[in-house]
């Protein structure tokens, strides 16, 4: 294999392995080299390049280059470089290895030409990112990581079922337009949707991202959801349900973001809101709308990454991320505060910042296609973004009430990563031509049309006026340390509660041991299942070891089958 056929996952895999055995500056160099080498290779990649592999009777295409995958490929490399740079000061091998594999597997997804390859990288993506959630190594992140992992597994299982059905039905393994004409299409759609943060499946995001480390969240916010956006754009462009799903995604998180106290959780809700814009764009499905969705995904990696980095910096320096604990940091952290305001201005889509360019494509496409109600909803959501991400994040972290926190700027590598992201946010906003030229679909769109700039400024200025009005009249809700119930209540409270009820009954009819009942009481469903597993494997319960041996037997049969198949 020549260097020209290098798979984008390879540099990251090699760097991850080397990171296991190196320390200090050498490891830093290797980790930074992975995205640089990958990007350098990608710049020479021609659309139309395909790498094929024969597996059993199937031809796989683990590497396929076209303009859509290239766009995501570019930004994933930029994002990986920024996230690696941001985390260089961390001395945690697990985080570094997981981060590299995670970024690499996201690249694997966007360059996969067939569904089996998508599935393989989809699973590595889910597994490696779970270790980033666990990297905080506390009780909260352990539990949130377990919940996160279950959703990633659910997505993987649906994808597997969907792709088997799809391949069986169509005889086609290639990952192109799938559509919603068959049940298989719906299964794959749902698998992608879970990772894209579809409503009712969204809480893995708001649960796990704030629980990860200051640096882990920066990786997390860049790849999973954007790989899912890519997958939807590839498989389901123009699927009408996406318009309405996206509109819901853009609207409902803004209410939760207003009252949320943990600023990294505010950003997680904000992320679902931004994903909503992309999903709507994919649903509309015209060249302009798809370009808008892809461009917005590209920009979101940079501006949401920047916002998570500034909050990560605050967390690193002060150990806090809650609005009720923060404030007044602008005097001791002026650089971070400035960078945060740049990120806030970008996500609010002020003219001369990158999101203005990409969001306006989606909005214009909605108008062109006559989706007026959805357009009004998205305009409403735009005002909501300004409130929670544009004003709330910088205001409560860096201004508001001075809590007398002793702080200083975060380490140089963190600042450098933030500066790169901020410069790209401004650069794309000020000079969008280069950016617009590499978009995958043909359109001639110029964002800086005078009427458009004026209307956007009117929207934003009067939304800010709204914030001032609410503050002056004392109507603005105070920061309160609290948990706000969301759909996750179902599996974090209701289901464990029901399980508890079942166990009480089982205990009552003398079917369950006291230990199991106690386990449920103390730690909920995970501890209970762990305890049950231990019990099942212990000698106290003869049927338990029988269950295990049946499992081992089945695994051996499966393995023998696979070996037999490969040999034959």
């Amino acid at each position: 294999m020549t260097l020209l056929e290098l798979h984008p996952f390879t540099p990251f895999l090699i760097a991850a392995i080397l990171a296991l055995f190196t320390r200090g500056w050498l490891r830093s160099l290797i980790m930074l080299a992975a995205p640089v080498v990958g990007a350098w290779h990608l710049l020479g990649a021609e659309p139309g390049t395909i790498m094929q592999l024969k597996f059993l009777d199937w031809i796989l295409e683990p590497y396929r280059v076209d303009k859509l995958s290239l766009m995501f490929g570019y930004v994933f490399h930029i994002g990986a470089f920024i996230a690696v740079l941001y985390s260089l000061h961390v001395k945690d091998t697990m985080q570094h290895v997981a981060g590299l594999l995670y970024a690499g597997s996201a690249l694997g997804v966007v360059f996969a030409g067939d569904l089996i390859s998508v599935f393989v990288f989809w699973e590595i993506l889910g597994l490696s990112s779970t270790f980033l959630v666990w990297a905080s190594r506390d009780e909260r992140s352990w539990k949130a990581g377990m919940r996160y992992f279950q959703f990633q597994v659910l997505s993987g299982v649906l994808l597997m079922a969907g792709l088997l059905w799809y391949v069986y039905g169509t005889g086609n393994l290639l990952f192109n337009h799938i559509g919603l004409e068959s049940g298989a299409g719906w299964l794959i759609f749902l698998a992608f949707g879970i990772k894209a943060g579809f409503p009712l499946f969204h809480n893995w995001l708001t649960d796990a991202y704030p629980a990860s480390t200051a640096t882990g969240t920066v990786f997390l916010c860049m790849f999973t959801t954007k790989a899912a956006i890519y997958a939807l754009a590839r498989g389901f462009p123009g699927a009408e349900p996406l318009i309405y799903i996206g509109a819901v995604m853009a609207c409902y998180p803004i209410f939760f973001a207003v009252i949320e106290n943990d600023l990294r959780r505010v950003l997680s809700y904000s992320m679902i809101n931004q994903l909503g814009f992309m999903v709507v764009g994919i649903g509309v499905g015209t060249s302009l709308a798809l370009n808008g969705a892809v461009a917005h995904a590209f920009n979101d990696i940079l501006f949401k990454g920047l916002l998570f980095m500034t909050m990560g910096g605050v967390l690193y320096v002060t150990g806090r991320t809650k609005a009720s604990d923060l404030g007044g940091l602008y005097r001791t952290m002026p650089v971070t505060a400035t960078l945060c305001i740049i990120g806030a201005a970008t996500i609010s889509a002020f003219p001369l910042f990158s999101a203005f360019v990409s969001k306006s494509m989606i909005m214009s496409a909605l108008l062109h296609e006559g989706h007026w109600a959805v357009w009004l909803a998205m305009l409403f959501a735009s005002a909501g973004v300004l409130e929670h991400a544009g004003i709330k994040i910088p205001y409560f972290a860096f201004f508001a009430h001075d809590r007398g926190i002793r702080a200083q700027e975060p380490p140089f590598n963190m600042l450098a990563a933030m500066v790169i992201a901020a410069l790209l946010c401004i650069g794309i906003g000020v000079y969008p031509k280069l950016f617009l030229d590499i978009l995958p679909f043909p359109t001639d769109y110029s964002p800086y049309e005078i009427g458009h700039v004026l209307t956007q400024m009117q929207l934003l200025a009067f939304a800010i006026l709204g914030v001032v009005f609410l503050h002056r009249t004392g109507l603005y809700p105070a920061e309160i340390p609290a948990v706000n119930l969301d759909f996750e209540w179902l599996w974090r409270k209701a289901l464990p509660g029901m399980a508890h009820g079942v166990l009480v009954v089982l205990r009552w009819i003398r079917f369950t041991t006291r230990d199991e009942l106690e386990a449920i009481r103390q730690g909920g469903i995970y501890l209970a299942s762990k305890r049950s597993l231990q019990l099942a494997l212990s000698r106290k319960w003869p049927t338990g070891s029988m269950v295990m041996w049946v499992g081992v037997f089945l695994a051996l049969v499966l393995l023998a089958g696979i070996i037999n198949e490969l040999a034959g």
Binding site: F380, F399, L459, A461, F462, G466, A482, N484, G524
Partner: protein, 84 residues
């Protein structure tokens, strides 16, 4: 110590200046609406200063409804600790 004196953003006169700039900007943006020809694609866009009042009302509506939402969904911080 830095905490003894007020920073620029904490001084009432500076806050007032920032607000004043915002008010002037808002007035100018609405005035501009009558001079700049903007291309309206849907009926609502033809309403004078549509984006201005839509932005203001949206934001106030979001925040006020979120306050109502908070009454329904707010729980103590350790709410999930005993179950999950």
């Amino acid at each position: 110590m830095a905490n003894d004196r007020k920073g620029w953003a904490d001084k009432p006169e500076n806050r007032r200046t920032v607000r004043l700039v915002l008010y002037i900007a808002c007035v100018l943006l609405v005035l501009a609406d009558f001079f700049v020809h903007r291309h309206a694609e849907m009926p609502a866009e033809k309403v004078p200063a549509f984006y201005a009042w839509y932005g203001f009302i949206s934001l106030v509506a979001v925040v006020l409804s979120a306050k109502v939402l908070r009454m329904i969904v707010k729980r103590p911080e350790d709410y999930y600790d005993d179950a999950s």
